[in-house]
Symmetry: C2
Subunit: 478 residues, 2 copies
């Protein structure tokens, strides 16, 4: 008789054992347990958990855009169009989409790169953004940006000259990258963002990280997250040029995670594509993968799972291999593609949906402007906190002073100081944020990431919690 399972921790794909994703990690599990305790009436020093762990605007109260949702509804159930009072431009959009679906059904598989209509809209969006030609053939839709980011990284999972391949990622980073590199067996080459320079990428640090990783690995690609998650900065044009020059010199493929490009308060956004183009040869001939998603931007439709990569200047055999691997998975969700279509071509003045759309957009923008300003102000007026300007995204990543005695207490529990801090914060205030350990931070510094798009009252409550909690924390451990 067999005693053991056939799949065990010893013989499972060992790379999976090291995959971590802090955003949905132990602190969230504890928060969920506390929610259940609260429901059961267990007494706590607070009445509800405030979740600030994940960048999900709808979960934080942002209302879905009416235009998008009406399009989705009628794309799913065209028969409702007769009865429902929806504007003409919604009906027309639905017609355009259905014309590109086989038999007009969003329930038919689409081409594996996505509906031709939607890819064309994406290309038009990119052209309008950059003033640089874009082709629908370079656009590959996915089930969220995560899906296509993983697909692109998969291409680098190969030994070169007997060395494993490495990919440069920022510290701090969004843990999709560290997690996916782990799963793929790609070596992480960490470069530090300069906190003292508003989280800029410093060429000498890129060079250092490259050289260090090159001892044991072949560095193949560099990931840049702009605007930053968790850091919220928007890179200057000069800084992007520096990164491009560095990547060119070191023959690195650039992966530009630009998913927060529309979540910016007032700075200009420069896409890597545009900057490369404007720099001219040889930079304008480099390969590039740039990622955008419906989960972010004003639409913020995380649950619909629609994103894309624009893949530029791939060699034909490389592009063909990418396409084949994608085709095996059939296609991204067609209703997600409908939402992406709306995000790429929004209502414009003169169209019946425009007034409501414009009002909804203004509300979203107001929330972002208000919360980034308030968070920045709050974090920089809490003694022991420091926070760089928050240009955009939907996060803040303040640095927090943690007294030596608290660090010792953390060690006792086998936790890092920032994990200990976030856990205490959760237990004492109900606020759930993610420790810097989940994203990375310079040794000896401690941070947490919080989302900041909560409704005003809840947001203010959360800010008050940080202030009060930190004061008590310092008193307890000084």
């Amino acid at each position: 008789m067999k005693l053991e399972a056939s799949l065990t921790a010893e013989n499972i794909n060992q790379k999976l054992l090291s995959v971590e994703y802090a955003v949905r990690g132990p602190i969230l599990q504890r928060a969920q347990a506390i929610e259940r305790e609260l429901e059961k009436g267990v007494p706590k020093p607070f009445t509800r958990v405030v979740r600030a762990n994940i960048g999900d605007c709808h979960a934080l109260g942002q209302k879905p855009f009416t235009f998008i949702r009406q399009v989705l509804a009628l794309a799913a159930c065209p028969e409702l169009a007769a009865a429902a009072a929806v504007p003409e431009d919604v009906k027309q959009r639905v017609q355009e989409i259905r014309d590109d679906c086989i038999q007009g059904s969003v329930g038919a598989y689409s081409p594996s790169a996505g509906l031709s209509l939607v890819r064309t809209r994406v290309a038009q969006f990119l052209e309008a953004r950059d003033g640089v030609p874009a082709s629908a053939d370079d656009v590959h839709l996915g089930s969220g940006a995560s899906d296509v980011i993983k697909a692109v990284l998969t291409m680098f999972a190969e030994q070169v000259d007997g060395k494993p391949s490495a990919v440069m990622i920022p510290v701090p980073q969004y843990p999709l990258f560290s997690g996916t590199l782990s799963e793929l067996g790609l070596v992480r080459a960490d470069y530090q963002l300069a906190e003292e320079q508003a989280w800029a990428l410093q060429p000498h640090e890129l060079e250092r990280a490259y050289l260090q990783a090159s001892e044991a690995a072949r560095v193949r690609a560099i990931v840049v997250i702009n605007p930053g998650n968790p850091t919220g900065q928007v890179l200057t044009r000069e800084n992007i040029e520096e990164v491009i020059k560095f990547a060119y010199r070191r023959d690195l493929f650039i992966l530009a995670d630009e998913v927060y490009q529309e979540n910016i308060v007032s700075k200009p956004f420069h896409s890597f594509k545009k900057v490369m183009h404007e720099m001219g040869a040889p930079y304008s001939g480099m390969e590039l993968a740039s990622f955008v998603t419906c989960s972010k931007g004003w639409a913020a439709e995380c649950g619909l799972r629609a994103g894309f990569v624009e893949l530029l200047r791939l060699q034909p055999r490389v592009a063909a291999a990418f396409r084949s691997a994608r085709a095996v998975m059939q296609c991204p969700t067609v209703l997600g593609q409908c939402a992406l279509d709306c995000a790429m071509k929004r209502p414009v003045p003169g169209e019946p949906s425009y007034p409501q759309f414009a009002a909804e957009l203004a509300a979203v923008r107001r929330v972002l402007a208000d919360r980034t300003a308030t968070a920045y102000h709050t974090f920089n007026t809490i003694p022991g906190y420091f926070c760089n300007p928050i240009d955009g995204s939907m996060f803040a990543y303040p640095r927090v002073e943690i007294p030596e005695r608290a660090q010792a207490a953390a060690r006792e529990l086998g936790l890092s100081p920032d994990e200990f801090y976030c856990l205490r914060l959760l237990e004492e205030t109900g606020v759930c944020v993610i420790p810097g350990t989940g994203f990375g931070q310079r040794a000896g510094t401690f941070h947490f990431r919080t989302t900041i798009l909560h409704p005003r009252d809840e947001f203010q409550h959360m800010m008050d919690c940080f202030r009060r909690f930190h004061q008590t924390f310092l008193e307890n451990y000084s």
Copy 2:
């Protein structure tokens, strides 16, 4: 100045270069080119292309189920509920789903395994199907079954005792499996289905395939597709028991692709889970992964991308690793989850949506019963064709006699005889089917796979094309 791209056919992940997916391969590309030629007025011996390459019911004219689509529409846009004349049970279902979405929005991320409501519904469906307890905790939703099949296979991508891992797959198989094994670097251990025994799995053949692959690899798992794609057979209970005993003896993890379990005309479907359970110890203690999808069954919502795996009796650390890797990708599409919810809990007598639902279901069933019978009859009355009984799925996989002279003509062109056959069929009749090479077939035999769910007239036209074409083909090459 750099001369080369940084990512090339030489340094890309070499495993991607061998990924093939015939269902969307060269024959489909040629069909699309012919469609464009027809549009431009290029004369052809036919007026339209009949696509029979992919198992996509909506693309073949099946109407979406009204209940599902009304639920989707209102889940996306609840405001329409007031105006639109939808039945009360639709509204109630939407309310239940929205209660499980954060802030009631399908645009918020769900838990990465899927909404708890939907996983509970899946468990209830499985319990009702098998009379065996099922737990929502064992259910993991994905963007189609493809997504979770790949995720499960990923767990086996590990060397064991210095040998690469192998997975047993049937021949013929659905090329998702061969493609994904290629991408993951898993060795294929092919076992032949017995065409002369209605595509049964023969224990001695399983044993042979196991032993042969074991010379160079460690065989870890076995994939069974039941009902079969491309073969359309439904396995007998006895045959399933034999497979389970074999897997037990050889310590193999069973992956049961049971996506066509509801696409059966009249035979009983036995799930691997139920059979294992009824066999009792030690078999009832084996691990199992079983796959179901909304793309198939009566719903046939391919474009919505919703499927699931029930993962039974995994070791806790294995389950945890699986969960972490899934979490990195956030979650499957929430609108897809809504459709799955409807597929798992359909309207029942007494509910307002039931009469229409029942009528729609009966129509779908009639089409399947009619087409399987007609295809079976037709293929067995074309001289030179042979076709096993088609119990279900939505495909036929007839064996075709290809004269020696035609085989020589194929070799001239660098094609396999069945590729040549399908290409000629396409060029002369406009019917697009996939050569057996894409699925696998015993050496020296030739097949093609055709979907069979076209509208009656188109279906009959296609059957006539096969008959006429084959006659001429035999005449030309005899």
